[in-house]
Symmetry: C2
């Protein structure tokens, strides 16, 4: 493992142009709405005199322009693009493509599509969790209300699958669809476990595998499919799955240990929302009984009390050590993939991304 967290932007600088293309496609697809008159529009340019000529009253209606400027949909799209995040999923897709030798047509389309799926799930999560803020701004439901947010999420899903279809391989669509379905089931299952301090460790891992790792696995898998690197698709999937587990374990750790300023949001928000993640699960298991754990939680006046207790029992160290296990595993996959791939620089970039994900402090 590297000893320091590199800055993500700097790390991803070799992908800067590709990321820009991906963001361009994403922006264009979120805004673009088909023209009603064009689609409904039927006979006008075709056999205007035959039996299928449109009745006069409908002809007239199809002539109006289909302007979406200034509409609610356009305002929401604007908000989405402005608060677009760091596009880590796009970067992952692009890095794997580079590692597979690069040059794939439609790389930016695939990268945009996977990011849009992620954005769609964030929108629906914010509705479900009733979150008021996201990335330092008002969340979509806080600004536009729940209903349009649900629909904008659906719109993003749909546009993403349209883009995926344009990548030309049904395997790509299938992989992303499976990952999306998993994420939904993971979220449904998470709802069942909210507020339950008895959540088993294995359920925690199943949840994060579904909620976070499945999509990262699919980012890597679809990138390999796009490069027609079919013989290594399975390894790429597993590499992405491990990276996703690391990503979420670090996220959950940071909710206890991060500096609030640096993190950009309040720490301790998971436990407050009734989500018991790995650090608390490990601490609970050390206490040995649910009663003792309930007593402990009741006795903690602040997030700082919880942090100090977990620190005292070396829980964070234990979580770190598990993360390191996975990082080693993940880098192992990468090393073996590097032997069979064309571009060592691409693999090196991915290795840096693994370290970044594991060592980041925000």
């Amino acid at each position: 493992m590297k000893s320091a967290t590199e800055d993500l932007t700097e790390l991803l600088s070799p992908l800067a142009d590709d990321l820009k293309s991906a963001r361009g496609i994403l922006t264009e697809r979120i805004f673009q709405a088909e023209d009603f008159s064009e689609r409904l529009l039927i006979a006008r340019n075709a056999a205007a005199q035959d039996a299928s000529e449109l009745p006069g009253w409908l002809e007239r209606i199809t002539e109006i322009p289909d302007k979406d400027d200034g509409s609610l949909a356009a305002e929401m799209a604007e908000h989405l693009i402005t608060h677009g995040g760091k596009m880590f999923r796009s970067a992952l897709v692009l890095a794997v493509i580079r590692a597979c030798g690069g040059g794939a047509q439609d790389a930016a389309k695939l990268a945009a599509a996977m990011e849009m799926i992620h954005m769609a799930t964030l929108l629906h999560d914010d509705v479900i969790d009733r979150s008021d803020t996201r990335r330092g701004a008002a969340s979509m439901p806080a600004r536009f209300d729940n209903s349009p947010t649900v629909l904008m999420g659906d719109h993003l899903f749909a546009r993403a699958f349209e883009l995926l279809s344009e990548c030309g391989r049904v395997e790509i669509v299938a992989s992303a669809a499976r990952a999306t379905s998993k994420m939904c089931l993971g979220e449904v299952e998470q709802l069942e476990w909210i507020g339950r301090a008895d959540i088993p460790e294995e359920v925690y891992f199943r949840l994060i595998e579904r909620k976070t790792a499945a999509l990262m696995a699919s980012c890597c898998e679809t990138a390999a499919f796009l490069c027609e690197n079919d013989s290594h698709v399975e390894e790429w999937n597993k590499f992405g799955c491990l990276l996703g587990l690391i990503f979420q374990m670090v996220d959950d750790l940071l909710d206890f240990t991060a500096d609030e300023q640096r993190l950009g949001k309040a720490v301790g928000s998971d436990a407050e929302a009734g989500k018991y993640t790995l650090p608390l699960i490990l601490y609970r298991d050390r206490l040995g009984s649910r009663e003792a754990f309930a007593e402990f939680l009741a006795g903690c006046a602040s997030q700082e009390d919880i942090r100090a207790a977990l620190e005292g029992e070396c829980v964070f160290k234990d979580v770190r050590s598990r993360i390191e296990d996975l990082v080693e595993n993940c880098q192992g996959y990468l090393n073996r993939l590097a032997d069979s791939q064309i571009d060592p620089a691409g693999c090196h970039l991915l290795s840096g991304m693994v370290d970044f994900v594991a060592l980041r402090d925000y």
Copy 2:
């Protein structure tokens, strides 16, 4: 036009076996959840001794069974299947396939997928409209709450796109994705027009084209793609679009004129929810001013008052006449398609479906 509405079940009896297959696939896919241990599971069966062997703590975790029985997701799936509706979109797909000569592998998969997209939008609509009932039972959000319903809708979308990818042609995925995206934008736009009695007639048609006709157009288009009937895809799309417009215009008319017992829900619910559909739009335009229309609405004590006023101004007759225009147009497409298709019985079935949609009284 036929003079009487045939019973839908009787009408669709030639498709009974195909519809049963479609329902089977739909049921299986809604329930089926992948096994965590299988997917995460990585190295166990592969190179167990190499660097990517799972750390012991994760090995242990992947051994637990991944049971979804009795879970919230399983209960919701059960509810969905039990109140599955008449599967009109599936029937439309299957009828077009039959008209194109039939025998397409994956016909049932495509039929199931298009129905699942429709089901997903209904779930999200019920969240958005805060509907308590659907098809004579408690709606999904009323029974399970909004959050799981949003997620179950997403799950249905994802599973549907997985099925579409299995149909083997990216054109099919692209068509369904475009239709889905349109439906979402149509719903967003509808939210903007709720409670606005000044909605222009052309906006009404744009809304129903997006909300209802786009998916029916895609049902027909994807069926043609599946049959590799690429040279007539555009006509099939337009046929489906017209059928969808008819479907929704009739729906909106029935909200004024239907018998409540026969319809299975309260009449007048659109206007009550602030949705001004074609009959009221036409009546408003006859009154000539918004003020007169507002006065009229304020003066109506009941749904019956509204109905009587519209009847008196021949509004329903006017709507009916427009529906007949579209039916003629729609049958025109079908006649020309029939000349180039293999199976006249399939085209005859579709013609019956058009008449059913136009003449139904529920």
